[in-house]
Assembly symmetry: none
Homo-oligomer: 126 residues x 2
């Protein structure tokens, strides 16, 4: 599966896993119905406990990215990535709307908010 886990990252392992698998699905590199490595295999590969991979897979299932079946394994769900992305975009839209509302109602400029966004992205992609 070739996921990269950093122990020095401030992000928890299960989150590093979900983030990367989400990206694989959204980008189409993992396709509908396709099998994910079993929790145990992935755990072994990443030198991590099964509980951690389970936690990651549970999160992915709750968010509709995959489906898990006892004895069979985990598979990319048929819910299309486009729908999920649209949903996420909507969540972001609402947050940004609130931010802009506050900005406009208190004399904070576009430049200031835009700079904050830039900074935030730089910080978090490291």
């Amino acid at each position: 599966m070739n996921l990269k886990i950093s122990n020095t990252s401030n992000k928890p392992i299960y989150e590093q896993i979900t983030t990367q698998i989400k990206n694989l699905i959204v980008s189409g590199r993992l396709k509908e119905g396709e099998a994910l490595p079993s929790m145990r295999l992935l755990a072994k590969e990443l030198r991590v406990s099964v509980i951690t991979t389970k936690r990651a897979y549970e999160d992915l299932e709750r968010e509709g990215f995959i489906q898990t079946l006892v004895g069979k394994g985990s598979f990319v769900a048929k819910t299309d990535a486009e729908k999920i992305k649209r949903q996420k975009l909507h969540e972001i839209d609402e947050l940004i709307y609130k931010a802009v509302e506050i900005a406009l109602s208190s004399g904070i400029s576009y430049a200031e908010v835009s700079a904050m966004l830039d900074e935030m992205f730089k910080e978090n992609t490291l």
Copy 2:
């Protein structure tokens, strides 16, 4: 001062204090320059430690609602535009942080989020 503290509330005591005092100030029942009860008096009245009232007063001061002076006491601050702006910036920061988190965890690019922000500002400033 007549604040109501609930021990069964899921909200911490210091937060119950700040919320109620903020409301008193915003509603004008506590006016600029007016003295708040000393941390010790309030602590005694609420049967709570001084550290807890201090925590509440510190939060209120950081948010620009009151001003505290050693030996004198705590007073309702004059509404300070700079402080309010800083507070608003913080609120915006938190919203944008959430937005960026969602974006990064679902393969949404900086360009997309940035475009949304641009759009939002254009729409709302027209």
